[in-house]
C-alpha cells in the first residue's frame, strides 16, 4: 500500500479514537473542577510528527468530526484545529526541536491556544459570556490539566504514526550518525 494512504489511514484511526475517547471518557471526567481536552494535544503532536500540511488537514477533519458528534457549530473546531495543526507542523519544519520537554511545552501551548481560539471564536460569533475571573481560572486550570496529559498523549500519537512516517527526523538523524554520515539537517 502506498505510504501516503497508510499515513491517512493511521491519522484517521488516531482521529476517530481521539474523538471517541474525548467524547465518551475524558470530557466526562472532572479533574480539579474542569475537564481535560486531548484533541488539541493530538492535533499539535500530529503536526510535530507529520508536518504542517498533514496536521492542518488532520485538524480540519477532526474538527468536523467533533462538531458533528457533539452537534456543535460546524466549521468552528475545524478552523481552530487547522491553525493549531499548521502552527505545530511549522514549528517542527522550521526549528525541529529535539528536547524531551518539547511535547510538554507544546502540549501546554496547544491547550492554551485552543482555549483562547475557541473563546475568541465564540466572542466573534456573538456568544454573550462575560469575561470573569472564574472563566479565566477555568481556562488556566483546563490548560494545566491538559498539559499533564501531554506526555502520554504524545507517546500514543508517536507510537501510532512512527511506522508510517515517510521522513522522521530523529530516525533519519540516528541512521546518519550510526553509519558515519552527516545529518541532512546539519548540512542544510
Amino acid at each position: 500500500m502506498h505510504p501516503i494512504v497508510l499515513l491517512i489511514l493511521r491519522l484517521a484511526a488516531i482521529g476517530v479514537l481521539a474523538v471517541v475517547l474525548q467524547v465518551s471518557a475524558v470530557s466526562q471526567l472532572t479533574i480539579f473542577g474542569t475537564n481535560a481536552d486531548v484533541i488539541p494535544l493530538v492535533v499539535a503532536f500530529v503536526g510535530l510528527l507529520a508536518g504542517s500540511v498533514n496536521a492542518a488537514a488532520f485538524g480540519f477533519a477532526v474538527g468536523i468530526f467533533i462538531d458533528t458528534a457533539l452537534v456543535g457549530t460546524l466549521g468552528l473546531s475545524s478552523l481552530v484545529y487547522v491553525a493549531l495543526g499548521y502552527g505545530a507542523g511549522r514549528l517542527r519544519e522550521l526549528r525541529d526541536p529535539q528536547s524531551s520537554l518539547v511535547p510538554l511545552a507544546l502540549g501546554a501551548g496547544a491547550s492554551a491556544a485552543a482555549a483562547f481560539g475557541f473563546a475568541l471564536m465564540q466572542f466573534l460569533l456573538g456568544a454573550e459570556a462575560p469575561v470573569s475571573f472564574e472563566l479565566i481560572r477555568q481556562l488556566v486550570v483546563a490548560t494545566l490539566v491538559s498539559t499533564l496529559l501531554a506526555l502520554p498523549v504524545y507517546a500514543g500519537v508517536r507510537r501510532g504514526l512512527l511506522s508510517v512516517l515517510p521522513d522522521d527526523p530523529r530516525r533519519r538523524r540516528r541512521r546518519a550518525y550510526t553509519t558515519g554520515g552527516m545529518s541532512p539537517l546539519s548540512r542544510s
Partner: protein
C-alpha cells in the same frame, strides 16, 4: 521544487481555512432544517450508538479515574467534616451546659415561690471555683460584700440547702458546704416533724447524719429532711424554714437514744453552678 512545496502548503492551508469559514458561514446562514444541519443530525444519529457503546465500554476507566478524584475530594471533605464535627460537639456541649443551667435556675425560681423567700434579699451568684479538698468542702461565688453578702448567710439552690457564707470579699464569697466538717444546721423530718441537727458524717464526705433525736422519734428510710428554721425574731435562725436538705437513707438502732439517721443531701455539691444567698432573714428587713 522548493517553491512548489511552499505554494502547495499554502494552498492547502488556505483551502482548509476557507473551507472552515465556508462551513461556518453556511451553517450560520441556514435554518435549523437546512442541509448542513440535517447532515449533522444524521451523522450524529449514526455516531450516537458508537458513542454510547464507547461510553459504556469506558465506564470502568471513568469510574477508576473518578474514584481517584473522589478519594482526593473525600480527603478534603473529611477534613472539613472533622472540623464541622468538632464545632458541632462544642455547640452541643454549650447547649447541654445551657440546658443544665436553665434547669438549675428554674428549680431556684420554683423554690423561691414555694418557700416565699423572694423578699429575703436573694442574691443570685455563679460558682466560680470549687475546693478539691474532701474535708474542707467550700465553693467560691462571684458575689461579695458589695452585693450585701455577709458571713453566716444561708446559701441555697433549687435542689435545696447548699451551705453558709464563710468568708466574704468585696466581690466574692467563700461558701462552706453542707458536707464541710464544720457545718451544722437545725433540721426536721418533713413528714413527722421530728427535729434534730444535721451534720456531715465523719469519714463519708458526701453524706450527712441527723443527731439529737429522741428514742421515741419515728424516722423512716426515704423521709425528707428540711431546715427547721424559724421566723420568730426572738430566736433568729440562720436558715429559713422548709429548705430541702436531703433524704433519709438508713436508720441505725431505730427506737434507741443512740439511733443514727443517715441522710444523702439533695444538692450534689460537685455539680452546683448557680446559688442564691439569702441576705435578709426577715422579709423587708436587712
Amino acid at each position: 521544487m522548493h517553491d512548489k512545496t511552499i505554494r502547495r502548503r499554502r494552498a492547502v492551508l488556505l483551502g482548509l481555512v476557507v473551507g472552515s469559514l465556508l462551513l461556518l458561514t453556511a451553517y450560520f446562514g441556514e435554518s435549523a432544517g437546512g442541509g448542513l444541519h440535517a447532515v449533522q443530525r444524521g451523522v450524529s444519529g449514526v455516531l450516537s450508538p458508537v458513542q454510547e457503546g464507547a461510553s459504556r465500554a469506558l465506564k470502568p476507566v471513568r469510574d477508576g479515574v473518578g474514584w481517584v478524584g473522589d478519594t482526593f475530594a473525600a480527603k478534603g471533605e473529611n477534613e472539613q467534616l472533622t472540623a464541622d464535627l468538632a464545632q458541632a460537639r462544642q455547640i452541643k456541649a454549650d447547649v447541654n451546659a445551657l440546658t443544665r443551667e436553665n434547669v438549675e435556675l428554674r428549680r431556684m425560681l420554683d423554690m423561691n415561690e414555694r418557700l416565699q423567700i423572694q423578699d429575703m434579699g436573694l442574691v443570685p451568684a455563679r460558682v466560680i471555683s470549687r475546693s478539691p479538698n474532701v474535708i474542707n468542702q467550700v465553693i467560691k461565688i462571684n458575689r461579695g460584700s458589695s452585693d450585701g453578702v455577709r458571713p453566716g448567710q444561708p446559701v441555697v439552690t433549687g435542689s435545696g440547702l447548699v451551705g453558709t457564707v464563710d468568708t466574704v470579699g468585696s466581690n466574692f464569697s467563700v461558701v462552706k458546704l453542707v458536707t464541710d466538717a464544720d457545718f451544722g444546721a437545725g433540721a426536721k423530718v418533713s413528714e413527722g416533724g421530728v427535729t434534730g441537727v444535721v451534720r456531715p458524717a465523719a469519714g463519708a464526705p458526701r453524706e450527712l447524719r441527723m443527731d439529737y433525736t429522741e428514742a421515741t422519734d419515728d424516722v423512716r428510710k426515704g423521709a425528707t429532711l428540711v431546715t427547721s428554721g424559724t421566723s420568730d425574731p426572738r430566736f433568729p435562725s440562720p436558715f429559713p424554714p422548709d429548705v430541702l436538705i436531703g433524704k433519709v437513707t438508713e436508720v441505725e438502732d431505730p427506737g434507741s437514744d443512740s439511733q443514727v439517721i443517715h441522710v444523702r443531701p439533695f444538692v450534689d455539691v460537685r455539680d452546683v453552678n448557680f446559688v442564691e444567698v439569702i441576705t435578709r432573714m426577715q422579709p423587708g428587713r436587712s
